[in-house]
């Protein structure tokens, strides 16, 4: 199971990208992982047309999986349109971690995705269906 903690994940955990709070920002949302109570927030700044992401940051404390997931996800958001953010496939968010994620840690891996969707729709988003995200056998 130590392969879940490859250097790649631990580097993101120790030195996460895009960590902090943007001020000013256009979109903001905070949400939590019910299994551990970890809270994560995300702030997004939009470009002048208010349709594309100019900058993004996440904040909050959490496990290595949730922090690495947020670090990796936020790296990919600049320049994307709001429609593209809505269309992000949660399965890809999990796969981008590059390590096997089982059902017990799925919410850790998807908290950043859920917070992002919350920021885009301005309300709490649903957790993706576990069966959809784990389909294809990424579970260890």
């Amino acid at each position: 199971m130590d392969n879940l903690y490859r250097d790649f994940i631990l580097e993101h955990y120790r030195e996460p990208h895009n960590k902090g709070v943007l001020d000013p920002h256009d979109l903001h949302f905070a949400d939590s992982n019910p299994t551990c109570g970890d809270e994560m927030s995300m702030t997004l700044l939009l470009d002048e047309g208010r349709q594309h992401v100019a900058d993004v940051a996440f904040d909050g404390r959490g496990c290595a999986i949730s922090q690495a997931s947020a670090s990796i996800l936020t790296d990919e958001l600049r320049g994307k349109s709001l429609d593209e953010l809505r269309g992000i496939d949660p399965k890809e968010v999990v796969e981008n971690l590059g390590v096997p994620i089982g059902p017990a840690r799925l919410k850790c891996a998807l908290l950043s995705y859920k917070v992002l969707q919350g920021a885009v729709i301005g309300a709490e988003a649903r957790w993706p269906d576990e069966a959809d995200v784990l389909a294809g056998g990424s579970a260890p």
Binding site: M1, D2, L4, Y5, D7, L10, E11, T35, C36, G37, D38, E39, R61, G62, C63, A64, I65, S66, A104, R105, C108
Partner: protein, 419 residues
Amino acid sequence: MAIEHLLPQVFDGSALRADFPVFDRPHRSGRPLCFLDSAASAPKPRAVIEAISDSYGHHYANVHRGIYELSEDATARFESARTSLARFIGAPSAREVVFVRNATEAINLVAYSWGRTNVAAGDLILSTEMEHHANLVPWQQLAADTGAALEFVAITDDGRLDLDDLGRRLARRPKLVAIGQVSNSLGTINPVAEITRLAHDAGALVILDAAQSVPHMPVSVTELGVDFLALSGHKMLGPSGIGALWAHRELLEAMPPFMTGGSMISKVALDGTTWAEVPLKFEAGTPAIAEAAGLAAAIGYLEGIGMENVRAHERFLFERAWDTLGAIDGVRLLGPASPDEHAAVVSFVIDGVHPHDVATIFDGHGVAVRAGHHCAQPVMARYDLPATTRASFYVYNDVDDIERLADAIHATQRLFRSA
């Protein structure tokens, strides 16, 4: 490490693992299972599994109904389980034991039946900051529904109930005091007899969440003096799906039913119904029949060891675990240090590593622990922690488990320091 002050070990926990088939199960780590999550739910000894199978295979029919040998046999065994449980918790009468699904349901039964009848706007319900959500959320709901106030006794920095704070709040004469005997998140053993005496002096009834105590130490409702007690079978080596509420008979008789339907009636007419006598008044529908047989077998297994011995064994393991983990740099322990006030539930934090990561890495070493808020989020908030890692011990644990726990902590620290 100072060994001299430790109690002698009373029995070999590792030898008992042969009684529990789950320890034969291969773990993906390639190592034997080191199970340190009994506070969540306990593995089952073969005696319990066989009692359930025997119930279904040889003694199964619905209870309290059939006028035939098999049903009479099933009923006698079901009622015998009730008698066993009454004896196990020092209850004066088996008629005071109500079978429910688990401690959560037992507490809800009291909150709905007794609470909605006896608590009104302006009344005070007193609980503690230490409670499992099962002994907290039902009282929030009762307060919201009735307009009663709900307050919580504070906990000290070292995880004990603040008895001065309790005294101040009791002076406002609450209707009910809802406390746990052993905290599932901190391991604290609360002075229930003393608290109950103080609560009674203030005119309050006491409901005891004994889910974490009845499996691990001698518990007598008579000696403690409480008014209600809730327990779960699955934490005491018994099956899931069965637990119990104990209460004084006069209380149960004065309470309205919680759930209604079959079995709990005396006479039903289209224009009205009368209730069965206690405890059946609170057991609507077909109960957990085979589970009752399993619970009786679990009680038999524990009585075979002796609850004084179970407590002494766990006290020994607690002291050893507390000393071993406390000696590791970067590990913080929660709860009282005294083994008199701390059950064999050790909640800890490894600096710089989130408990979820800890549990995942431990699992890679075949060590099963609980990581999270332990259904006690206010406790986590009290210590400004998102979560903790919790190792909880039972009869089949031994010093080898503590060694593997310590090894897993060292491995986790090495992994998070490397790269």
